[in-house]
């Protein structure tokens, strides 16, 4: 195995990790703030991918069609997230865990069939625009230029989330709400509106991830199933509710995935699970999480 192959694989691992980060970040954010585990997160990611196809299809005569479809998808998924929160999630804040999970499980079934009805069973493909279609030279190694775009997007979202949560007023409110809902609402801040915003943001990021996934390969039914489990592994490795943990976890899973594909293609997911199991034995609350609250 020569060094250029290793570097190429390393870069593709980072780009896969960034994709996982975009999905897991919303999952972790929603769980951390609202204490609701959204099983349907990856299904909504897939909706984002299909939606971006539709936007691209309408706009395909323009040269910026793909870029525009990414923006439009992110915005519309934010709106969809808002609607889901107001109509469904808001009613189950104080329910048993089993009912919360059943509701999002029901959503998976509805979304899965909904995609089948709206977009059919055929695979969809968005051709890449010229600028990200050709490989670029990366220290003498040809490297898929679209992956550079994915990595840059992932880093920008990471930075945005960090800035938003640590530096802005709304970010401070959200972090305060994690520690005490009662105290925050006693200060006159409407908790339900904060929750709606957080859920919409999480779903918008998932939509963004779906939109930038679409031009990588074709969009197929059921591709959310393998991604959702990897996203769960990411948050378990990193620790729920920790942005840094999710970022590191995503890179670990991305790299494990990229290199195990080189060694034993069928076993990629198995390696990821082994890493997850190992971390759970050593640190059940994840690398950057805090020990479980009872």
């Amino acid at each position: 195995m020569d060094i250029s192959l290793i570097i190429a694989q390393f870069m593709s691992g980072i780009s896969h990790g960034m994709m996982l980060f975009l999905i897991a970040a919303g999952l972790s954010l929603i769980f951390g703030v609202m204490n609701i585990l959204n099983f349907a997160h990856a299904s909504l990611w897939l909706v984002g991918a299909y939606l971006s196809y539709t936007f691209w299809y309408i706009l395909q005569d323009y040269s910026i069609a793909m870029w525009l479809s990414i923006v439009l998808t992110t915005l519309s998924m934010g709106v969809i997230g808002m609607i889901i929160e107001i109509v469904l999630i808001r009613r189950i804040y104080n329910r048993d865990l089993s009912e919360q999970l059943l509701l999002t499980y029901g959503l998976i079934l509805v979304i899965g069939d909904g995609i089948k009805i709206i977009w059919g069973v055929d695979n969809k493909l968005i051709p890449r625009p010229e600028i990200v279609a050709t490989p670029i030279d990366f220290f003498g190694i040809p490297f898929d230029s679209y992956f550079i775009f994915v990595i840059l997007t992932g880093l920008s979202v990471t930075f945005f989330l960090w800035w938003f949560l640590k530096k802005t007023r709304y970010g401070h409110i959200i972090r305060a709400a994690v520690y005490s809902r009662e105290m925050v609402s006693a200060l006159g801040i409407p908790i339900p509106r904060i929750y709606t915003g957080v859920f919409a943001m999480g779903i918008a990021i998932a939509g963004l991830a779906g939109a930038i996934q679409a031009p990588i390969g074709s969009i197929t039914l059921g591709m959310d199933m393998s991604v959702v489990v990897q996203a769960f592994c990411v948050v378990v490795i990193g620790g729920f509710g920790s942005l840094l943990g999710t970022f590191v976890g995503a890179l670990i899973v991305g790299e494990v995935y990229a290199f195990s594909i080189l060694l034993w293609p069928q076993g990629a997911l198995i390696f990821i699970f082994l890493v997850t199991a190992f971390i759970l034995i050593v640190r059940p609350w994840g690398l950057f999480g805090t020990p479980m609250r009872k």
Partner: protein, 324 residues
């Protein structure tokens, strides 16, 4: 309700189940077999959910392992069904020894995630191991022995095994072990102070529940004549959760009742639409939103007298009001 009356009810239901195939047509016998198998699956799930208080979202993996164990033994080694059913329980139990060890270290939502992740791991192993499991083609030609070939004989075979399994599970639930599980569910710190090794007890319970799920899976393969990896997947794991929630998880027969409702719904709805997941997904969402505690929670208050035989788990019922 006293024990005598309870036994009378159960005997009456069993007798009704015995004469049932004489009245209904073959299509409904198939539905009845499905109810028995999925009812066993849901009841085994409830050993973890109702008695231990943890939500497993990967229980279908053990059902699927059981199905594949029986299926592979029948297809590749022509081992008779009654031996391969035992093998199903053992293989599912052994997998639960390994995976359960990690799962019982966590509780609540973390338990749900880990069971789900391990369930998907097993699903992917089966899905991708073409040479052994047939991958996504599944396993064809899982045929029961000649004397069980007709739906009627397979019904009685399933009825006997499921009844025996339910009796064993009921006895486990009523044993000191079962009451230890309830005590862990209601307060695991206090249980630990009593000197009970909570993790070990949970692990054993997880293994037993998985063995019965494996048995249900073993019965399912020859009934369905083929096995698909979908049986292990997460989508299949949600079904017993739904059954337990609509039927009531705090009574022994609740999940079984939920299974009857679910299976009838499915038989009815798949008759005129291929979008069964869409319909059941919508039903699940509506039940969670508008009927917390399940359909039976609503019915129970109205026709309590009629349903009072449900109250086998009377201790569990009393703790319903306490924190969960």
């Amino acid at each position: 309700m006293n024990n005598k009356k309870k036994l009378l009810w159960i005997a009456a239901i069993f007798a009704a189940a015995l004469i049932l195939p004489l009245i209904i047509g073959e299509f409904w016998v198939h539905i009845a077999i499905q109810i028995l198998i999925m009812g066993l699956f849901a009841t085994s799930f409830n050993m973890i959910f109702g008695y231990m208080g943890q939500l497993s979202f990967g229980h279908a993996a053990y059902f699927g392992i059981g199905a594949y164990a029986t299926g592979l033994l029948i297809v590749k080694a022509s081992i008779p069904l009654h031996f391969s059913l035992a093998a199903s329980m053992i293989v599912a139990g052994l997998s639960a020894v390994v995976f359960g060890y990690f799962c019982v270290r966590l509780t609540g939502i973390y338990f749900a995630i880990l069971t789900l992740a391990f369930g998907q791991l097993i699903f992917y192993i089966v899905f991708q191991w073409y040479s052994f499991t047939g991958g996504d083609d599944g396993l064809q030609g899982v045929v029961p022995p000649d004397f069980l070939f007709s739906a009627y004989s397979y019904y009685y075979f399933t009825l006997i095994i499921v009844t025996a399994a339910l009796i064993v599970m009921w006895m486990i639930g009523e044993s000191p072990f079962g009451y230890t599980m309830r005590s862990i569910r209601d307060n695991d710190s206090r249980t630990r102070f009593l000197g009970i090794n909570v993790r070990a007890y949970m692990h054993v319970n997880f293994i037993i529940a998985s063995m019965f799920a494996g048995l249900a899976g073993g019965l399912f393969g020859p009934f369905n004549r083929s096995i698909a990896p979908d049986l292990l997947s997460w989508h299949h794991s949600g079904i017993p959760v739904f059954m337990a929630v609509i039927g009531g998880s705090r009574s022994f027969f609740g999940p079984f009742l939920g299974c009857i409702i679910y299976t009838f719904l499915m038989a009815f709805i798949t008759g005129f639409t291929q979008y069964w997941p869409l319909v059941i997904g919508t039903i699940i969402i509506l039940v969670v939103l508008f009927a917390p505690g399940g359909i039976l929670g609503i019915l129970e208050s109205r026709i309590k007298a009629l349903l009072s035989w449900k109250g086998i788990d009377e201790i569990g019922k009393k703790t319903d009001d306490e924190s969960y």
